[in-house]
């Protein structure tokens, strides 16, 4: 006798309770606080803010705790929360030239106005496990010196003065909003950049890497990479002027790309651009390379059929929340469609078998 599958409701409740228990882990080990995650797993927090499209370190840290460290799950929590928030308006464009830089390096000039600032980077650390951290996380105070004041000009501006790099004229067009209008093709650069800044880091990295290995190569130099805090200002209609409403940390990457010229453009350097919430060099460099690859059409370059040049391919597959949802949905029951396939395969096999028999008889 067959008893139909029932009890989904009870199963779900019990699964959730078990999950909560697993999340806490061994209760003889102290519980992790949201503040600890925010302070000590900062780069994870930054990734969740960037791909979750919401700048709030506390909420991102909470999401990481709730998701047991599964960052895509944490990003998902942030996205789902973000959609419910009211919108008061849009800030003025931020000025990254006025950034308080923690790090600012150029790979194209040995020295330049504003200087090279190495900042807190893993770059030259030797990747040896530090067993001291297992016992005691206390560190000696890092040497400090007075920070330079004043704006730090962009490297691309120096090249621009000589006319060696393509113009990037100021544009006051209100950019489209990916979160308020369906993503439709063709997508202009503002929309592409919007999609890329919240794109999955791994996907962006893989695509960018593919351009370096020849799938749509665009010869990128890191003209400049800067990380630091910038002020966010907003026009308040009642006041009639802009006021600072807060400060956010950003990573900005500007690439300078070789370009021999095309039918429509003279030989000159071209630009790729990456801008990401928090500290994420890998993501911002990847973004700049993919941005540059996607610009083939406006620069009159050939489409060599590389994945990174294909706007539809890149933009429709870059979002990890969409991707993981659809990928994981194949866990859901598919009894009905599978059943119809079963019937079809049985029928086709029956007929193929009968056909073979007939052939043999002939």
């Amino acid at each position: 006798m067959y008893v139909a599958v029932k009890g989904g409701e009870r199963a779900i409740e019990s699964a959730h309770a078990w999950l909560a228990e697993e999340r806490r882990g061994d209760i003889s080990v102290a519980e992790l606080s949201v503040a600890q995650i925010r302070e000590q797993l900062k780069l994870a927090v930054d990734r969740v803010m960037a791909e979750g499209s919401l700048y709030d370190p506390d909420l991102a840290a909470l999401a990481i705790k709730q998701s047991r460290g599964d960052l895509i799950e944490a990003i998902f929590l942030i996205r789902a929360y973000r959609t419910t928030l009211p919108r008061f308006g849009a800030s003025d464009p931020i000025d990254t030239g006025a950034m308080d830089c923690d790090r600012r390096i150029s790979a194209t000039f040995k020295d330049l106005p504003g200087g090279q600032i190495l900042g807190p980077t893993f770059d030259y650390t030797h990747r040896l496990l530090d067993f001291k951290l297992a016992a005691d996380g206390e560190v000696p105070e890092a040497p400090a010196r007075e920070a330079a004041t004043g704006d730090v000009p962009h490297v691309t501006e120096f090249l621009n003065r000589e006319g060696l790099i393509e113009e990037a004229p100021h544009d006051d067009t209100v950019p489209p909003d990916l979160t308020r209008a369906p993503l439709e093709m063709p997508a202009d650069r503002a929309l592409r950049l919007q999609a890329l800044t919240r794109a999955d880091e791994g996907f962006a990295l893989g695509l960018a890497y593919s351009t370096q290995r020849g799938y749509g190569r665009n010869h990128a130099f890191v003209g400049e990479l800067r990380i630091g805090a910038v002020a966010v200002e907003m026009d308040i209609p009642e006041l009639g002027f802009a006021i600072e409403i807060g400060e956010i940390t950003l990573t900005e990457c500007e690439t300078v790309n070789q370009f021999k010229g095309s039918k429509t453009e003279p030989p000159q350097f071209t630009r790729g651009y990456g801008l990401v919430f928090g500290q994420s060099e890998r993501k911002s460099i990847s973004m700049a390379l993919v941005d540059r690859a996607l610009r083939w059409e406006e620069l009159g370059e050939d489409n060599v059929g590389a994945p990174a040049q294909d706007t539809e391919f890149v933009l429709y597959h870059a979002d990890n929340i969409q991707a993981t949802g659809f990928l994981e949905h194949i866990k859901l029951p598919h009894y009905v469609d599978f059943q119809s396939e079963l019937e079809l395969v049985r029928k086709l096999r029956r007929e193929a078998g009968a056909g073979q028999f007939q052939e043999a008889a002939e």
Binding site: M1, Y2, V3, A4, V5, K6, G7, G8, E9, R10, A11, I12, S14, F76, R79, A80, R82, T83, T84, P86, T179, R180, A181, P182, L183, E184, M185, P186, E312, Y316, I321, Q322, T324, G325, F326, L327, E328, H329, L332, P333, H334, Y335, V336, D337, Q339, S340, E341, L342, E343, L344, K347, L348, E351
Partner: protein
Amino acid sequence: MTEYNFAYLDEQTKRMIRRAILKGLAIPGYQVPFASREMPMPYGWGTGGVQVSAAVLTPEDRFKVIDQGADDTTNAVSIRSFFERTAGVATTTTTSEASVIQTRHRVPEEALTEDQILVYQVPIPEPLRFLEPRESETRKMHSLEEYGLMHVKLYEDIARHGHIATSYAYPVKVEGRYVMDPSPIPKFDNPKLGNMPAIQLFGAGREQRIYALPPYTQVVSLDFEDHPFEASKADHSCGLCGATDSYLDEVITDDQGGRMFVCSDTDYCEGRRAAGFFGEMSAENPSAPTMTTQRNLEFQT
């Protein structure tokens, strides 16, 4: 969850979705782009259907959710409880009592009425997608009514297999104009879409598309004169209720090749059993073969 608006979405978002629905109803079978929101459940798990349901539900509605025809599969349970919590609407598992039915992969066996709305969850709304991956191309093909590629695909199936080798998500033509994906329902369900008194709404959240069939719309499954469309199902009757006219799931009952067929529409099956019908493997059937072990397929809790 009092901090959320009725049915979770804010009123502006619901208005945006309703506009897309109205446009969809005005152009049956046409895929209307809409600014799909991130929902608190994953893309691919019914976010399109959930947004459409949220936009059409009113406090007076009675809501039913089925997945694979069943009310108690885990994802159906999850979506039903989401609306119980966020909208406080009454829910039911009885098809005829529901005013809004959200479904994944099935059309209920019981005929629907003019007072009902059927909301489909759609994974890939574009019927031409697996013939042409580019959205920019497929939109052009729809606007030019350029469906040759689809006919060639169906023809090639016949040339190769002797049949159209599509058993679910079988493409239909709506009012002689748009080729439409009916969502991954078995082709057995296709004939129910045409001339249906209820409103049918299709929501694809991840793909940001809504489309619709107003009541009594002409919906024709694509076929050829010499290879007419055939709505097929397993050639058995339901082991529990004996129905011969319902879509059946195959259930493996032991590791010796034993299996039985049962209605995929659980409400239909229960209704028939309550009315005194029983199948050859039902407990109420005196001539039912007795199995050596009583199986309990409940989820372990």
